[in-house]
Symmetry: C2
Subunit: 201 residues, 2 copies
């Protein structure tokens, strides 16, 4: 282990920074030094923003989103389409969809995907709560916005089975060529899906 | 610009994280989400460590190191060789040398290198303070541990000229093959230096 060079406070900062995703021990030191150099403009505001986040962020008891209020901003937004629920694996997927602006509905965060390998079973996800929310009056469509991975698709099938008794429309995202994507770099599965779902030009 | 999705507190956290070195807008969002998920074990301690650092870290008025005390831990360490000063460009270089444990002396952080291109002139660096410290009784050797770049070497020459009247021994780091390095990947300049400074085996 490298020895401490600059007092326990800086060492602790470096150690904690090194546990952030995307930062290793070396980049944590560089980050710590940059933060110290920008003490007034970055370090102090960031410390404050983190403290506020740590104190005030809660998980929405309705959809599983993270926010400083419960129900979250999205669940509390009455301008959103009340007939549709968008099912996502994780909050990061919810954020990605919100950035796209493609849908103005409410979400349901499953908190992961079923995985025999990782021992994730239906009771580890918020599927029961989803069935409860989907049963509320007015809900007509469930959009499954799960990742196009094996585990994501297994989960999609399981969720579909769970929701079947409610008689709702259940849809999933289209497969196809990403916008800006080059055919040469796409896998055969995507190309096959894109050909099958071709649209009139 | 992507729209805000999760309240101003999280947006602010993401925005500030994105200004950290090594994190872009996308990785800042991922980092924010990971931090929120590890609220108790990482986010709160990191906020605290940053606050402590922001409040307590000072630049050592003697050597330019950053620490929570002035003079810094290294300058205040009486077990260090008082005859030698190691001149470095930046605190990160000081940390690197301390980790190596190669020298138990005091340092002098120049705060950069001379650069005509970037308009860094001698008065922007702590060269005057270095001459002052080098004049103190007992100092015998100045080790120039500057980067082996053009600007680093220009600075080394300038510093050497500034220190010449004091009649001290001025040394610089050896050039050669890095330990574990493969000759095939080294540039000609390094190989030439390694041949010239070859040692008896």
């Amino acid at each position: 282990m490298p020895q401490a060079v600059a007092g326990p406070e800086i060492e602790r900062l470096i150690q904690l920074l090194g546990r952030m995703p995307g930062l290793g021990p070396r980049s944590a030191r560089r980050a710590a030094l940059q933060l110290i150099k920008k003490r007034e403009t970055l370090l102090a505001p960031l410390a404050d923003a983190m403290r506020v986040a740590a104190e005030r962020i809660v998980v929405c008891s309705s959809c599983g989103n993270v926010d400083t209020r419960d129900p979250c901003t999205i669940c509390a937004d009455h301008s959103r389409d009340p007939t549709t629920l968008v099912v996502v694996e994780d909050v990061s997927d919810l954020w990605a969809l919100e950035r796209s602006g493609a849908v103005k509905a409410r979400y349901h965060v499953l908190g992961g995907v079923l995985s025999a390998l990782d021992g994730v079973r239906p009771e580890h996800l918020t599927i029961a709560r989803l069935v409860e929310r989907a049963s509320e009056p007015g809900v007509k469509e469930i959009i499954l916005a799960l990742n196009a991975t094996v585990d994501g698709q297994t989960t999609a099938h399981y969720v579909t089975e769970s929701l079947k008794p409610l008689g709702l429309t259940i849809t999933r995202l289209a497969h196809g060529v990403p916008v800006g994507g080059e055919l040469d770099y796409l896998d055969e599965g995507t190309l096959t899906a894109a050909i099958r779902s071709r649209t009139v030009f």
